[in-house]
């Protein structure tokens, strides 16, 4: 795999050099990637974050769908090729298995997301992704899922 083992530590808009998502859909604050293997990201939730204004007024809770999107972005960072950003052959999330939420996050929390790439071969990628609240312990797991991505050129073969 191209760039396998390559380590990257990215902050803020530096993450745009690796991933195609943009604010307000890109909310990762820090991203550490070992290409072809694993990645860890941090999100520092702030009261002024856009999603807290609407989810929910007076009772801010980090939306679950946005957490899943962020988890997908972290897994994507482990295998996306630089060429995908140039020719827009961006892998698409196609699978989120057996998701359930054990906890939720609020302003002031740090969301820690760890992704491990299981395989990236024949146009599809699969990995396990775990989201934690503030600490990396079994007790602080918010959700853990198995996720999958497919390259768009493979989808056209269906």
């Amino acid at each position: 795999m191209e760039g396998e083992g390559n380590l990257q530590n990215l902050k803020g808009e530096e993450i745009y050099t690796l991933l195609p998502q943009r604010y307000p859909y890109m909310i990762l604050d820090e991203l550490h990637v070992e290409a072809g293997k694993m990645a860890e990201a941090h999100i520092y939730l702030k009261a002024e974050d856009w999603f807290f204004k609407c989810h929910f007024p007076g009772k801010p809770i980090f939306p679950g769908f946005l957490l899943v999107e962020a988890m997908g972005q972290v897994l994507l960072s482990t295998f996306i090729s630089p060429a995908a950003l140039i020719d827009h052959q961006i892998p698409l999330m196609t699978e989120v298995k057996n998701i359930s939420f054990r906890d939720f996050c609020i302003p002031g929390d740090r969301v820690i997301i760890q992704a491990e790439l299981i395989r990236f071969k024949y146009g599809t990628a699969r990995g396990t992704v775990v989201a934690y609240k503030n600490d990396v312990t079994q007790e602080s797991i918010v959700t853990e899922v198995k996720m999958g991505f497919v390259l768009p050129q493979v989808l056209s073969k269906k």
């Binding site: 196609t94 299981i118 071969k121 024949y122 497919v150 493979v154 989808l155 073969k157 269906k158």
Partner: protein, 73 residues
């Protein structure tokens, strides 16, 4: 390519250990044999064997052996 090598390709595709599947294994008993794995199978067959699989052929697969029979160079 030997039968063992072909089985190794399928074991990798289905994320199972060596020996976990046989020619008689029913595909419905393989946890990872889902729509995403079927896409990978299409690409693998094309890349490794030059065989194009259509959806009717994939639907006709019942056992691992049915897939192996199509893995011909």
């Amino acid at each position: 390519m030997s039968e063992r090598e072909k089985m190794a390709l399928l074991e990798d595709l289905f994320e199972v250990e060596e020996g976990d599947i046989t020619l008689e294994t029913n595909l419905s008993d393989i946890e990872e044999y889902d729509s995403m794995t079927k896409l990978s199978l299409i690409v693998m067959m094309e890349d490794e064997f030059g065989v194009k699989l259509d959806s009717a052929t994939i639907k006709s697969f019942v056992t691992v052996g049915d897939i192996l029979a199509k893995m011909v160079k």
